[in-house]
Amino acid sequence: MAMDAIRVAGLTKRYGETLAVDGVAFAVPMGATVGLLGGNGAGKTTTIAMLLGLLIPSAGSVHVLGHDMARDRFAALARMNFSSPYVALPHRLSVAENLRVYGHLYNVPELDGRIAALASELEIEALLDRPAGELSAGQKTRVALAKSLINRPDLLLLDEPTASLDPDSGDMMRSLLERYRAESGCTILLASHNMSEVERLCTHVLMMKKGRIVDRGSPDELLGRYGRETLEDVFLDIARNRGASLGVPA
């Protein structure tokens, strides 16, 4: 049986009286691209933080690339990476220096060549000598994506990877992710509010609400189950509790 890239069971995070994530269980097969969808406060970022080992769960287990994140997270962290518009890169360092720092942290061989290749693919060559803090929001997103690919990760966790990008740049990023996945066999877990992005990239979707996974399936399965034409309508059905009227568990 093929190993799952991510296997989560009974994952719970409680902050005092607040239950941010409530007994979540799911598995992401190797090579899959899975979308984690939900409104603000649904528990997506908290779930990703627990997958990364940044946050210790109140209960439950997380296995990433075969490693128990409670006991052996550094072995998994070397083979994964992460991008989020909410976590910045040192703004006084140039883009090239930032990529070099993370290349060293991930012990990337032939680092200069890797940086040049990523700069070319992401069209950030002209930005390499500029301080990261002086970039536009869209440029920062592209640089953050370059950082997340620096170690050729087997597992990529992306929190809103195309936020702040114009449609053209967003499309370029999505093409790059598709190409990288096809070439590397990388597994991707993607939290996004961009439903067309999820429909295009994801083979499977997890719908979160109030800390729970309330529905799951391929985009086509969800569209069929809710009788909708777009994932955005499915998202709205779930967010506004219309699933029950359609005979779907809320």
Binding site: Y15, L54, L55, V87, Y106
Partner: protein
């Protein structure tokens, strides 16, 4: 991580200048004070002046070591970069080792001009203390590191609100560290506090060398033993607070 800080300082001369600013300023103030004492009070006053300058210069090793580690951590916090650092394979102890290395580089850049200044302007040569100077300096640097670990722990616990401690905490220990006067000058009830600090033993040892020409190995041994105890305690506190930060989710939001 060392490269990250080298890159930062390489492109910012004000940051480099700031490293030497306070040590040079302190040395200037106490150097002129020593010169004044020498002019008014003869050789006895000159000896006191020399001990003041020696105290200032040696204390800078502790101060700059502590600030170097704490500021290296704050740089990550200010740039909201901790999330990226802690999802890399970098282990916390590796981060601490990098911060200590950066701190040592900062210390070298910061204190060297002050040592040169004290020699050129005030004819005070710190190296006349002899090889034991290495042990004095090592103990003070280690003290700076464990105090910094305590500060970083407080920042992990209380966030950016605790960052002012990075600059102030060791100044707060100066009155108890026997930098400018012997432990016996303190009230009796304060002496145990003073003797619990490695720095007090280092400065008692410094004065013994300067006044009597003897090396007080008992004070050096006490300083080393206290450093071991305090470093172990600070490491435990740091490990505990790092775990608490991971439980609270503080590593993602600590700079905000």
């Amino acid at each position: 991580m060392i490269y990250r800080h080298l890159a930062l300082y390489r492109r910012s001369w004000p940051r480099l200048a700031e490293l030497a600013y306070w040590p040079v300023l302190q040395t200037s103030i106490w150097g002129f004070t020593s010169t004044f004492l020498l002019a008014r009070g003869g050789s006895a006053a000159a000896a006191v002046g020399g001990m003041l300058l020696g105290g200032v210069l040696l204390w800078e090793f502790a101060l700059r070591s502590q600030m170097g580690v704490a500021v290296a951590f704050l740089e990550e916090l200010w740039s909201r970069n901790l999330g990226h650092v802690f999802v890399s394979p970098l282990r916390p102890w590796e981060l601490v080792a990098a911060m200590i290395s950066v701190s040592t580089l900062r210390l070298t850049i910061g204190v060297t001009p002050a040592i040169l200044l004290s020699y050129l302007l005030y004819a005070f040569n710190l190296f006349t203390l002899g090889p034991v100077l290495v042990l004095f300096v090592a103990n003070l640097m280690i003290m700076g590191w464990w105090v910094a670990l305590g500060v970083v722990s407080l920042i992990l616990r209380h966030g950016a609100g605790a960052e002012s401690l990075a600059w102030s905490v060791l100044f707060g220990l100066t009155p108890f560290s026997a930098v400018f006067y012997p432990v016996s000058a303190l009230p009796a009830w304060l002496r145990p506090v003073s003797l619990a600090l490695p720095s007090s033993h280092v400065f008692e040892g410094m004065r013994a060398v300067m006044q009597l020409g003897v090396i007080r190995w008992d004070h050096l041994a006490a300083a080393a033993a206290l450093n071991v105890v305090w470093m172990a305690a600070a490491t435990l506190v740091f490990a505990r607070q790092f775990r608490v930060a991971r439980e609270r989710g503080a590593l993602l939001v600590i700079g905000e």
